[in-house]
């Protein structure tokens, strides 16, 4: 009964999403307040029914109702409760429902936090979001009904894929989806602006915080996913350039460009056509990612079980949403030309240049991801495009981005003197290169990659310090406290996020250059040494869990005779699927991780143990945390709230003008 209620609620949500899509759009066109006012309650009602439906599905998992097909294939009576709940999104159907739910959540957030928007504009935003939502809910209902019954019910389920039974599974997908789907808001704002022909700086200001928050979610989602892969896969890799990773990385790159482009459009009225295109592009890449994961056109570790019917449906959805948006863009783009003028040497130019680079990087990742498909479609053979290609392409493209990223903030808006600006940053730049060489030499690893990475990181850090110092000097005579207070949250956001990139680069470079590993056969009492650390094997014991059998090794980690930690890597076999898994054990430190995973047991009783030494690897994620914090600071800037209040007061007058 409950699954049927969930199914019915989803149908109601579809009906409401159609109402939300059609009625406010018509209302905005006819300038009818009554019709426009339907958008808000429809969106909220839709949210209610999707959540209801989602809860019903979760109920089937939690109560182990194996007459529901999805629960039978993705859960098990012995699965821990946490993984019963998260198992809902560990499959195509349930994760699609999560997708639709996060879209609905974003939509409701728009209805709550955008009361100050002109009615016609809000109506169009809700209409566009409603259309996308209708597309996805109907996709779920038509091709991927999560409430499908399995009659007769099976005695027990097949369990959630053991790889997914991990705390990473609890937060990674929701964060990632909130990020992916969050770009729909910037997209809807851009489309609403195109529809209304109201393409001034206002829509850029309105969509800025939304874009930034979506970007923060996406950053966090990608970082958590990468951290999860790092400790779960048992050998310490953290990024694989898998097509599905790329599918989340491409919108991130374009979303980064979009955030910066929006800043210019808001402040200077420039780049409007470009910004609109980026807003469409970022969301289009999110949709494309959804297609890649669910259609089976590409082989990936992350792909869901596929079905050509689904691929076709979602491709049709893509063509309608993206095609219509780009057509609208083509019709209206000539209205977007012009805007604030700026000189060749200016903050605008540096931002535009970085935008171009980020877009090229994103397009290159797209090219590498889809190239095997192109060749296959043209019957020109099968190839694989993997990490060596992406690294070869990505590093040269990102180097100028990082250099420019720290140079741009030294330039003034509109016009600046190149020679003066270069003089200002030259000492830091030269020092960075020297530090890069010096550090690489000091760690005895002088390769161009290491030198480049460390130089770039040093450049980011030094230039950040110089920026802050310059900023604090501006108000000579004021007290230190008031100087600090005079810096806005959004400036801190920019500063932190850029610094985060530097920290990230340090992590990537150091672990890429200096990591070490060793596979040993260990018997009880035996010792191994790696990178100055001693590992003593204290034996292995049985450590069975609720739905798996396991052996847990006990390894004492010490350095210079001092015991640092006891590591307990596990080798598990999940009973329902008979699938072996390794659970690595880590001693996490600021300057290095020591990482141990347990392999098989040999005939003579010894265990194969893999030891890894990963210098500075946690800096990768610390960098991501700084980037995310930067985004939060930027989005929380007080001026958005103040502007919101100011605009709410003036909103009434604008309705007629914008309609």
């Amino acid at each position: 009964m409950i699954p049927e209620l969930g199914h019915f609620a989803l149908i109601l949500a579809l009906v409401l999403s159609l109402v939300q899509a059609v009625v406010p759009l018509v209302g905005a066109q006819r300038n009818s307040m009554a019709l426009m006012a339907v958008g808000r309650p429809a969106a909220q009602g839709q949210f209610f029914f999707i959540v209801f439906s989602y809860v019903c599905l979760t109920w089937a998992f939690v109560t182990s109702d194996f007459s529901v097909q999805l629960a039978a294939t993705n859960s098990h009576s012995e699965t821990p409760i946490m993984y019963k709940i998260t198992g809902v999104w560990g499959n195509h159907e349930g994760s699609l429902l999560l997708w639709a739910m996060s879209l609905s959540l974003w939509t409701v957030a728009v209805t709550v936090f955008s009361r100050h928007l002109p009615d016609a504009f809000l109506a169009r935003v809700l209409g566009v979001l409603g259309l996308v939502s209708a597309g996805f809910i109907s996709f779920t209902l038509v091709t991927s009904n999560p409430f499908e019954r399995l009659l007769p019910a099976v005695a027990d389920g097949r369990d959630l894929n053991p790889l997914l039974q991990d705390p990473g599974m609890i937060i990674h997908p929701p964060l990632l989806y909130m990020g992916y789907v969050g770009f729909s808001v910037a997209f809807a704002f851009a489309i609403a602006a195109l529809m209304s022909g109201r393409l001034d700086a206002a829509w850029a200001r309105w969509s800025r915080p939304w874009t930034t928050i979506a970007w923060v979610f996406l950053t966090a989602g990608i970082a958590v996913g990468s951290g999860w892969a790092y400790y779960e896969l048992g050998w310490g890799g953290w990024w694989f350039w898998d097509p599905v990773e790329n599918a989340s990385f491409m919108p991130w790159l374009l979303g980064t460009a979009l955030m910066h482009s929006l800043a210019v459009t808001e402040k200077r009225g420039a780049f409007r056509s470009w910004t609109v295109l980026l807003a469409i592009g970022a969301f289009s890449l999110s949709l494309l990612g959804t297609f890649l994961v669910r259609s089976g056109v590409i082989t990936s570790v992350h792909a869901f079980a596929t079905d050509p019917k689904r691929g076709l449906y979602i491709l049709a959805l893509l063509v309608i949403v993206i095609g219509a948006s780009l057509l609208l863009y083509a019709m209206r783009a000539n209205k977007l030309m012009g805007g604030g003028s700026f000189a060749l040497v200016s903050r605008e130019t540096s931002l535009l240049a970085n935008n171009v680079l980020l877009t090229v990087a994103s397009a290159s990742v797209l090219l590498g991801t889809l190239y095997p498909l192109f060749l296959d479609a043209l019957n020109l053979g099968k190839i694989s495009v993997g990490p060596p290609y992406f690294e070869a392409v990505f590093v040269p493209l990102m180097t100028p981005v990082v250099v420019l990223m720290m140079f741009g903030p030294f330039l003034r808006w509109k016009d600046d003197d190149l020679a003066a600006a270069v003089r200002k940053v030259a000492p830091a730049f030269i020092a960075s290169v020297l530090i890069g060489f010096g550090t690489a030499w000091a760690v005895d690893h002088v390769t161009w990659r290491t030198v480049l990475g460390l130089s770039l990181a040093a450049w980011v850090v030094l230039a950040s310090i110089q920026l802050l110092a310059g900023r604090l000097k501006e108000r000579a005579g004021a007290s230190a406290g008031s100087r600090l207070r005079s810096i806005t949250a959004s400036w801190w956001g920019m500063w932190l996020a850029h610094l985060g990139i530097g920290v990230f680069i340090i992590g990537v470079t150091m672990v890429g250059s200096l990591d070490q590993s060793l596979d040993v056969k260990m018997k009880e009492g035996q010792r191994a040494e790696l990178a100055g650390y001693s590992f003593v094997f204290r034996g292995a014991v049985d450590a069975d869990g609720p739905n798996y059998d396991a052996a847990r090794g006990n390894i004492e980690l010490s350095r210079d005779g001092r015991v640092l930690d006891t590591l307990t890597p596990e080798k598990r076999v999940y009973r329902a699927q008979g699938m072996p898994m390794t659970e690595a054990s880590l001693d996490i430190g600021v300057f290095r991780d020591v990482y141990v995973s347990l392999g098989e047991q040999l005939e003579d009783g010894a265990w194969i143990v893999s030891l890894y030494y990963k210098p500075f690897i946690s800096w990768i994620w610390m960098g991501c945390v700084l980037m995310g914090l930067g985004g939060i600071f930027a989005a929380a800037d007080r001026r958005y709230r103040r502007l919101a209040a100011r605009e709410a007061a003036g909103a009434g007058q604008r309705v007629a003008a914008s309609a």
Partner: protein, 185 residues
């Protein structure tokens, strides 16, 4: 230069950091595999240097039966067989290129994660360069046109210019009012 002092400090700090790091790393430490000491665990590979080479190459080779994993990551039987092949051939003194040729002869370019540069992959390898040049050209074009527009503006009458300047200044003031912090830096 006002930035010199903090910079010098930073430089020192960074160098100290590097030294600290190098101490922490302890230099390239090799596990002592002397069989004489029974307390020391033997390495799985009889020859750790060979194993390192094998795994480095294995990471660049695709496991054909897996969902996009290298033969280093996968434990599918075929991946294990191919890893053994790589190890045996390297041990027999073949170069990495020989081993790659051996596998490509049998499985095609599909096994290579780094696609070779040839007619059908020209667009793949040159694509990013073309995109970059295209992007740069577009950027240059846009910037030049903007400059021309600005020049045309400057060619206006004195009165217009005065009005334009007033507008521009007003715009700048407006930007400052809206607390765009970057505009002041």
């Amino acid at each position: 230069m006002p930035v010199d002092a903090p910079l010098a400090m930073l430089r020192r700090a960074a160098l100290t950091g590097a030294v600290v790091a190098s101490v922490a790393l302890g230099g390239p430490a090799w596990a002592d595999t002397a069989p004489a000491d029974p307390a020391l665990a033997p390495t799985v590979a009889a020859n750790p240097a060979l194993e390192a080479d094998t795994m480095e190459l294995a990471h660049k080779l695709r496991c054909l039966v897996c969902q996009n994993q290298s033969i280093a990551e996968s434990n599918a039987p075929l991946a294990v067989d191919l890893r053994n092949q790589v190890r045996e051939q390297l041990a027999a003194g073949k170069t990495k290129d020989d081993v790659i040729d051996y596998l490509v002869d049998r499985y095609g370019d599909f096994v290579l994660y780094e696609p070779p540069f040839k007619a059908v992959t020209v667009l793949l390898w040159l694509g990013p360069v073309v995109l970059l040049v295209g992007g740069a050209a577009w950027l240059a074009f846009r910037l030049r046109r903007r400059r021309e527009e600005a020049a045309a503006e400057r060619g206006l009458s004195a009165a217009d210019r005065a009005r334009a300047r007033a507008l521009l200044e007003g715009g700048a003031a407006g930007a400052a009012q809206s607390e765009s912090p970057e505009s002041r830096s």
